[in-house]
Amino acid sequence: MQAEIATSPVKPLPQPAPRAPAFRRANEDAPWVRYLLTGTALLVVGVLIVIPIANVFVEAFASGAGAYFRNLFTDPDTRHAILLTLTVVPIALVLNTIFGVTAAWAISRFQFPGRSVLTALIDLPFSVSPVVAGLMFVLIFGLQGYFGPFLRRDGYSVVPYLVSFVLALVFAVGYFLARPSDGRLRVGLWKRPGLVVPLGSLALFAVSFAVQKALGIWPENTSLKIIFATPGLVLATSFVTFPFVARELIPVMDAIGPDEELAAVSLGASGWQMFWHVTVPNVKWGLVYGVILCNARAMGEFGAVYVVSGHIAGQTDTMPLRIEKLFQEYNLPGSFAVASVLTLVAIGTLVIKSKLETLVAASGAHGQAENVTKGEPS
């Protein structure tokens, strides 16, 4: 290979080409090499990507725009699938954003035992097959699973505990966030977090639990469906899209480093102020980017959702599942109509992503995108 390049017509060597020249510019490749490589790349992209995607729209509109929208909006099962996706995906996004920010913060700002394990575990959903992921949830929450019999017998009895626990947690976090950071303003109960947080959380837990029980908000002795129901879909989707936000944020936060945050603290900012004034503006593009990718993946998730949904039309079918079902029923225009919506989402994601990349590049060079126009000419 090397000898062949060396004897190419650009620079014939006098000696019988024992080795390639020490230095050769990248653009010195022979024209035929360039055309061949470019042509191959274009061909592969065309055959594997452009033509199939175009075909989705062609097939979707095969019997006209009227039929397209009829296919999308008159079929109640399809309509339900779209609505279900629009319910499940936002919940998964919110969960993953909270988790992603928390994990990225912990990994890039603290040293703690198990840090490398956590870093590795974040990637796990990428490497586990979605079908296996779905199966895991079935084995835990399904009828034959560990919690299955209990959930079926009296599943709702855990809900008051969960609700009370979340309330108590919100109280504890809220206490620290609302606590004045200036020592002189900390009077009365603000001075005793060690007392207020455990006792307050416990009291809130008890009261909330008692109220829920007394009012009978949750049905008793009723099966709480997780598998073959929306909670299972949310769980499976969240699991599969779990790494996106954290994966985007960790390198960004590592690159920025903790100095600006320390500076904010030394200037008197509270943790909350520091987070919103310094951390969030610095990582916002990475965060948006991660959320967009997460959204694209969550909308299109098939394998894990397939396993936990039970594939019940009009109940647990999400858009990708609906596409497959319509396809199996030989309803090609209907199937391609739904597919075109997902494809549009994907293309939209791609456009936003590349726009963001230019924005991020600009903000990397100039501190922030807006300042290019806002700042004075130097």
């Binding site: 200036d182 904010a264 030394s266 200037l267 008197g268 503006p281 610095n282 100039h366």
Partner: protein, 356 residues
């Protein structure tokens, strides 16, 4: 007394960063923490700032124990080596941040920001972003930001470390002048002894988490407390030998050392600064060392001469005034006699652990 540090200890795992530090920073003074990397100087600064928590010990400010105070309550201004300006905020917003989080109104904030922009000679650049400024300008902004909330103490962590030589020189003088103007108690960290001597009026030399010596620049330089300080503050020639009967004897050379008159010999390290060495063409009765001139580099007012002892092959650096150099007209390769006008001797137990 402004800041008093009492028995402060800090470990990172098994590494001892600070080992029973006791220090007093005088009110309105400008104090330099000087030491090699890993000596604990930055850790000490961060503990004073409240960005790091000491394992034990206490910090007092005007007789008030501030050990348990958060960074916000301590009213300190902290300047980071790499500026740590908020990259998404304008210069004005950066400077005003300390006031913003303390709930100071917009008008008052703008007034103070303008005042500080004038002080750092960047008026009119308030709408720029940090990335549009040079390194020196950024560090001035960082300083203004730290000063905005009128801190009781100003702490600077290697403030000129990331700047090029010329800007560093200018900023040192500027900081000195600024300190004279505003008289805020300041502590700054540096590993550059020249910088510490030029800017500070008190120098604290640290090594391995311990304070080696505290004093004015002149005191520390002229009367180093131990071999480490001697070695760390500028170039020095070391001869390993012994003391006996008013003499310091190293292989091939003897120096007068009247402080030690006992007959019993003792191991010692003999330190001579390059400018305290004297070069003669001929022996003139003073104990001296024969050495070959390896290299002569005339740099401005002083000429550096590198020599090699004839007997021991030890390398020696001497510094001559340009007048003396002109008088001698030394050439590489010739043999001369080197004597010391002043030696400092530290006994073997105090040998420096630090080496350049």
């Amino acid at each position: 007394m402004s800041i008093v540090i009492k028995d402060v200890n800090k470990r990172f795992g098994s590494f001892v960063a600070l080992d029973r530090i006791n220090l007093t920073v005088p009110d309105g003074g400008l104090l330099a923490l000087l030491g090699p990397s890993g000596s604990g100087k930055t850790t000490l600064l961060r503990i004073i700032a409240g960005l790091e928590v000491a394992d034990s010990g206490s910090i007092h400010h005007h007789d008030e124990d501030i050990t348990g105070y958060s960074a916000r309550e301590r009213k300190v201004g902290f300047v980071f080596q790499h500026y740590a300006l908020f990259r998404h905020m304008t210069i004005a917003d950066n400077i005003g941040y300390g006031l913003r989080v303390r709930g100071v109104g917009k008008a008052e904030r703008a007034e103070r920001v303008n005042e500080l922009l004038k002080l750092i000679r960047l008026d009119g650049l308030g709408t720029r972003f940090p990335s549009q400024l040079s390194g020196g300008q950024r560090q001035r902004v960082a300083l203004a930001r730290a000063l905005a909330a009128r801190p009781a103490v100003l702490l600077l962590d290697e403030p000129f470390g990331a700047l090029d030589a010329k800007v560093r020189q200018e900023l040192r003088q500027w900081l000195r002048k600024l300190h004279e103007e505003i008289q805020v108690t300041s502590v700054f960290v540096t590993h550059d002894q020249e910088e510490a001597f030029e800017v500070a009026d008190h120098v604290v030399v640290m090594n391995h988490g311990k304070i080696e010596q505290v004093g004015s620049p002149a005191e520390v330089f002229e009367h180093p407390a131990n071999a480490f300080v001697m070695d760390f503050l500028g170039n020095v020639n070391v001869f390993h030998g012994r003391l006996e009967q008013g003499k310091a004897v190293a292989p091939g050379v003897e120096f007068h050392y009247p402080e030690y008159q006992q007959t019993e010999a003792r191991d010692a390290a003999i330190y001579v600064r390059p400018h305290e060495l004297w070069i003669e063409r001929k022996k003139n009765g003073v104990p001296s060392l024969a050495a070959k001139v390896l290299h002569v580099s005339p740099t401005g007012s002083r000429t550096k001469v590198e020599l090699q002892a004839v007997d021991t092959n030890a390398l020696i650096t001497a510094e001559l005034t340009s007048e003396r150099y002109a008088e001698l007209a030394l050439k590489s390769g010739e043999t001369v006699h080197v004597s010391a006008r002043r030696v400092r001797v530290f006994e073997a137990a105090q040998q420096p652990e630090y080496s350049i």
